[in-house]
Amino acid sequence: METAEQSDAQLVARCRAGEPDAWNAFVERFSRYVYAICSRGFRLGREDAEDVFQEVFARAYEKLAELRSDDAVLPWLAQLTRRLCIDRLRMLTRHASDATEPDEHAADEELRSLDDAIAVRAALDAMGDPCRDLLDRFFCRDESYRTIGEALNLPAGTIASRISRCLAKIRADLMEGAGGSARLEE
């Protein structure tokens, strides 16, 4: 089974068993989420976001064995990241002359959007390539039709139509709650 097809619980179990590459896959899987909480949810500056990002994974590595339910790793990481972001903001405001408390409410609103984004991302990962690669390049990496076309050796016009078809497929998968089965027909 490919790592992308494994559930969060399966991946956590592999990390706990010390399997080679499991930790790399764990970081790869959750890095976008942790990064988004730091940078979008709490709007930390780059250096602070990097510190919190590393601290989250350091603590996750230390505490993974204590996780009560392997299925709950995502909310556990979200809570850990949230707490460390707030700690960091409080530390920053202690040193600032115009100190204000972190706006936890606004951050929580953003975090709810990120939960929806995670569900969509999971459906995209389950679809696999070429849709995953195509939509990731366009929406997540902000690549133009031209750049994507050059990378995939396809005309720019074809990229637009494939993106549209992939979006239709991911929407259908989300509605079915099935994920995983759809493949972009060549």
Partner: protein
């Protein structure tokens, strides 16, 4: 599951750009970094001369111990070292 239209799906995908590759790599190196650090600390506790070397030049001590960390991991170890020194002084 909510019924997202294509525009909403695109907007949600944009919320999760990839983390900087160097950050991801540094987090992936954590187990190796921790093992190297544990080894360095244990050796520093046994060997006063080595402890001085470590305090004088962390990168060199890491290299001599056979660990080639990424810049961000080395930077993290530096900060850890500084916090230990501050705790010892304080």
């Amino acid at each position: 599951m909510k019924d997202y239209d294509s525009e909403q799906i695109g907007r949600l995908l944009r919320l999760l750009p990839p983390a900087p590759q160097a950050w991801v790599q540094a987090a992936q190196e954590l187990p190796a970094a921790r093992a190297a650090l544990d080894e360095l600390v244990a050796r520093a506790e046994r060997d006063a001369a080595f402890r001085q070397e470590l305090e004088a030049d962390l990168e060199r001590a890491l290299a001599d111990a056979g660990y080639q960390g990424s810049p961000s991991v080395v930077s993290r170890l530096h900060r850890l070292q500084e916090s230990v020194e501050e705790a010892e002084l304080g």
